[in-house]
Amino acid sequence: MKQAALSKIALNLSLLIVVFIILFPVFYIVQTSLKSMADVYSGSFFFTAKTANYEEIFTGSRSNFAELTRNSLIVSSSVALICGAIGSLAAYSLARLNWRRWVAGGIIVWLLFINMMPPIVFVTPYYLWARAAGIYDTPAAVIMAHVVLNMPLAVIMMMNFFAEVPKELEEAAVIDGCSQWQAFRMVILPIVRPGLAAMAVLVFVFSWKEFLFSLSLTTTSAGRTIPVGIANFVQEFNIRYGEMAAGSFVAMIPALILVLLAQRHIIKGLTVGAIKG
């Protein structure tokens, strides 16, 4: 018995070390974001916390972080909305409306291919299209790319939710005189609403953190999003560590909020494409 208790303590102790390893870099960046340049240079652990870096990136005259934040919000919420609408309609059709197996299977396999393909593959065609369509360097170009990137997640996640709804519900609704659209809109959709919300939030976060397309399809702060702004800090000759850390922490906020919210659905979404064990 004594040995069991000891091994339990050892187990939890080692897991707490893992927790520390994961959280430490986040803590370190928060700490750096509250330091003045002099405190960064001295490298000491004791200093007076200041919010100057946050003020500088959001209101400073040479900072475009406010515009980038605006772009990020526009892009991520549009992508969540578009993927939510297109994804849930398509998922419902694929999961419940008796498509032949090769149709449904073929579309799902294609979505998995898109999900697993290195995104760099699509950069050159999208770049040319954005130029041709006159949306280069606007949030619209980034939205276009992010919708495609997140569509597999949206459809596959929603298909799982629809599969959990008992079939009798739609049948009853149709017998009562609903059209298929009404059955979907008024009976099924309200049931999967928590799942739909989880999907939309996850898509929001994935769009929020995407970097490659925001970088390739834009060139000024008219279209760029937060990750591009952060990467620019690193490339400067004299890195403004405090401001870089402050920007990085702002970029993490949606993710940190998400971790505190719904867990079960999110975990399913994070491993799309993995087999169910």
Binding site: M116, V121, P125, K276
Partner: protein, 315 residues
């Protein structure tokens, strides 16, 4: 239903009214609901690949804002032969992928076994562990570049405190740069392997573990002779999936090293990006993209086949 209609032609078998029915009739919602997705897939995933085909047999240039395209057939093959960095990028990517997949499989498995044994703190562990998968990879890059920083970074500060005279340069040392990048990736992606492995462990029937315990098996022996064999298919498929995803690596390398010093951390995505954005050779970038797409296409097909076989075996 289908068989009957094949023998006895229905009254309206001219085809036309049924076509119209399918588009606008009572059952047409099925098609309309799927249509937006089909449009997105055809326009934004199928057409780009066709365009890549066309671009990779051309030399493309912007002349005064107008795109000028010249057909060069297989001329991009010559460009590939003259590009020494492509081979280096391929080699670096393979080293990176093999290293991170092996390490993360091990760390992910250990973490999953450990966390599956906890009760009270399980929620804390699970919440914390998924954080690296949700924060922007660019921010992961800046976090670690702060810690790796030679002048003010945490590692240097600690090592100097400990009396090390010449602490390593991490990302600035050509011999250490790739390893530094791999360390960051392990921090980032262990959680992904953990999630898949945990689902695998939780699907092992509890009586099996109970039986092992009653028979007096030690923890290590239970892991070795019960959990590991039961998990083997899951582990294999997780490794394949992680291999595919690891080929995407770009964001952190862009922030941490930009492929440098020299070409020490140049990976495929980074190389294509540089060909595209710095050298501005769109045709050659398209050609490389197409090769990557073709290679990944085969690899993903293999993965989907393998995971189907495994799923069937697991029932």
């Amino acid at each position: 239903m289908m068989q009957v209609s094949a023998i006895i032609p229905p009254p309206n078998s001219t085809g036309r009214p049924r076509q119209v029915d399918r588009l606008f009739g009572a059952g047409s919602f099925k098609l309309w609901a799927l249509l937006p997705l089909l449009v997105v897939l055809v326009i934004f995933t199928l057409l780009p690949i066709l365009q890549l085909l066309q671009m990779s047999v051309s030399e493309l240039e912007f002349v005064e804002g107008e795109l000028v395209s010249e057909f060069i057939g297989l001329g991009q093959l010559d460009n590939l032969a003259k590009d020494p960095i492509a081979g280096i990028a391929l080699k670096n990517t393979l080293v990176f992928v093999v290293a991170v997949v092996l390490i993360e499989t091990f760390t992910g498995f250990c973490l999953a076994v450990a966390i599956s044994r906890t009760k009270t703190l399980a929620i804390l562990y699970r919440s914390v562990v998924i954080i690296p998968l949700l924060i922007p990879p660019v921010a992961i890059g800046t976090m670690w570049s702060l810690m790796y920083d030679y002048n003010y970074g945490l590692f240097t500060t600690i090592l100097i405190e400990l009396g090390v005279q010449y602490p390593p340069l991490w990302t600035a040392d050509p011999d250490l740069a790739l390893i530094s990048v791999i360390i960051v990736d392990v921090w980032h992606w262990t959680s992904f392997m953990f999630l898949i492995m945990l689902a695998g462990i939780e699907s092992i029937p509890p009586p099996l573990l109970e039986a092992a315990r009653v028979d007096g098996a030690t923890e290590l022996r239970t892991i070795r002779y019960v959990i590991l064999p039961m998990m083997a298919p899951t582990i294999l498929v997780a490794m394949l999936l992680r291999t595919i995803l690891a080929f995407k690596v770009f964001d952190q390398i862009f922030v941490l090293t930009s492929g440098g010093p020299g070409t020490a951390t140049q990976v495929i995505s980074m190389h294509i990006y540089k060909v595209f954005s710095e050298q501005f050779r769109l045709g050659y970038a398209a050609f490389l993209s197409l090769m990557v797409a073709g290679f990944m296409f085969i690899f993903v097909a293999f993965y989907l086949w393998a995971s189907r076989v495994v799923r069937r075996r697991l029932g």
